[in-house]
Symmetry: D2
Subunit: 238 residues, 4 copies
């Protein structure tokens, strides 16, 4: 059983009617609902929960953390960010969605600006699978289309990914590395571009398939203290 | 002084009036003409030259080889391909243009199919710089446009590149890793997608800038025998 | 159930008493014996079998191919090598052991010389796990020792691996990228250095664990024709 | 002319006679002295200088920053670290030496623990060149030896490097990725393991060659604001 925690800043849904119409219980609940299945259990956590809902106990009991944030990145205390980062480096998987490219946790794991540019014109996006044998791409097909997205454009200020699984094509003329994997310490990281709050992206079945695949892919192989290893016996002193 | 050899199968230009109108002296001559400058000297070679113009002497005197081929890949003898490959592994740079993705030399260096799909509809291509600090991208800007290209589409059957410098957006809905670097042995490899024979791509100044940058980038750091290294003295036998 | 085929040139065991004493039924049989378990079935194939034991039917029924060869690489016909390569690019996993670094199939997939240097002095090797969260490293620990190996030394003429999982330290003063992963097309590739015919390496339990882990890791995610993808409908023509 | 700033915490040299004997003017001054040449100018900066000697003016006038620190990493204010990081992401090169693996700036750029283990037994180290065609390896040869070093051991908690240029072998049984390159944003990063304060590593000519090579390699190709790119005109709105 893979234990997932879905974290959401949960701000737009409470303050913007349009967003609430799409995600009445919040983006986190929509994601939790479609993820739950025979091998995945889900809990949720939000910014206004005690300790952002991310106590050490919760993190120790989480295999894969999903992160959605947008306008309140800076309200997540550094202490919480450091705690999450330590968990990732020890093995917890993390999936950062859409505007989470600018979350403290993603920027801290990447070491870069994670900048990009954007347009909010409801463009058609064609998401192309460029690594069809990747576990995260199973069931997706060669490409799929999203009618109405926020456009993100290169250059995307990230380190060279381990793998670019998906690339995005936007009607208005942009391209983007839409689905990228990284590993840092023992933890696996997936960034996925689609997911703006005013478009019903998380109701799209292919998007749901991709996030479910990513959860299984990011499930830890090893969870252990990534701290300094003990010294080693010298060969000739044995 | 960087010594460049431009190789062209030189078939379309002799057999297709439309192509001849664009490249009267052959694609190789057009490339040679725009490359020549203070720090670059250029010779050309074509399929029908003795030994395809690629004798050991020519290769030993070549710092960077540029390759253009399309319908006559299989007419290049394996012996010549192996000779070129050995030169690359020892340090000679190579730049493979457009349909050279299916040349024997490129496939042999990649170890993969190098397949892709294509349309020949004269689409607009926007070439995006995704690695702006790469030497090959200098002077290019954030993106540039080519009015009328042959469209290539992912998935492109190559190993993960060292660096994706450019990504292509096509009007009809495709994306492509348009400019990619690799190194194999001591040699540097650049693949660049634009360059179809019926579109005047090599007359475009930004394309010319990119190829000139790539020549300087691919200029060998080291040229030496990539054969088996001699055995090493054991530390404790010294 | 993962279907493994273990291929061995099976020459030393028939012609060298010392090797026969270590691997009486051949290296392939030893590997087959320790691999068989609840989720892995194994068949073997050798150079002198009809078509090297690698008919299209066998390859189509193989999830992961293990390759051991040393002095008879050139006796494997190109036609068989191409058939194996095509299977790998479509998704079949391949594990190349020790002297298989110079097999035709490994060199063809890498596109490089795959050269290295070596000493046959029975050095102690310490194999270090440098990527402890990699599936292939599970159960291995921080390092393990092999008393008596053939030493391999850098530089190893391979492309930059996707991941270096193990690095080798040799008593006499050498280092080597002892366990490396690659992917080419849909297929996953693992190269593992230990395994000389005159040392009983394949009787070592940690080596056995690593090869079993590698089989599970290399099990195909997708098997499909890696040939040219069909053209795509243009967005604006739909 | 490449403008280098050598930064040193400059603590051991003032507080430990043994270190002072090796580096009477400080490690920074030794490095500055051997670096100065026709194409390189050098300034130095230390922890106790005003703003650690790293004002915005200094950074804007620095092409490549060299960093040495050990026991006073935490005394570098976050504000200075952020300023340096921003400069690197905009294009300034940085070379982190030895115990700078645990400096705030290196950890922040890597996004990982950068942990390792160590012994201080004065082992012999053989530094192997595994990428002989890399610009940083020119003039080094296949390997060189340092008689008396602090041993570092894998696993080294860094992201997968762009290139592993050097690997270290230590007498007592350890291996280490001794020379690694990365790029983050527009900036190039080189980490180099040798350089402990109680061993006269920076007086070794091959080490000096490597650091000089690294300065030339890390010299910026592009220096520009890595902030958010302006939005792009849509193709069909032009």
């Amino acid at each position: 059983m893979i234990k997932v925690t879905v974290w959401n800043e949960f701000y737009h849904e409470k303050n913007n009617e349009k967003v609430r119409a799409i995600y009445p219980q919040g983006i986190h609940q929509t994601i939790a609902d479609f993820l739950k299945c025979d091998d995945i259990t889900v809990r949720t956590a939000t910014l206004e929960d005690e300790q952002c809902g991310l106590t050490q106990e919760v993190l120790d009991d989480t295999d894969v953390l999903i992160w959605w944030g947008h306008v309140r990145h800076n309200d997540v205390p550094d202490e919480i960010v450091n705690r999450v980062k330590e968990s990732v480096l020890k093995g917890m998987g993390i999936i950062c969605l859409h505007s989470a490219h600018h979350s403290k946790i993603f920027k801290s794991l990447m070491g870069t600006t994670c900048n990009l540019s954007w347009r909010e014109d409801g463009d058609l996006e064609r998401v192309w699978t460029i690594n069809p044998a990747h576990p995260i791409a199973q069931g997706v097909g060669r490409y799929f289309e999203l009618n109405g997205v926020e456009t993100y454009a290169e250059p995307f200020g990230i380190p060279e990914p381990d793998e670019v699984v998906f690339m995005g094509w936007y009607e208005g003329g942009e391209v983007f590395r839409t689905g990228c994997t990284f590993h840092r310490g023992n933890g696996r990281i997936f960034y996925f571009q689609p997911g703006h709050e005013t478009f019903p992206i998380f109701h799209n079945e292919t998007v749901q398939t991709i996030i479910r695949n990513a959860v299984r892919w990011a499930n830890p192989v090893l969870r252990e203290d990534a701290l300094i290893c003990p010294q080693v016996t010298k060969v000739h002193n044995k």
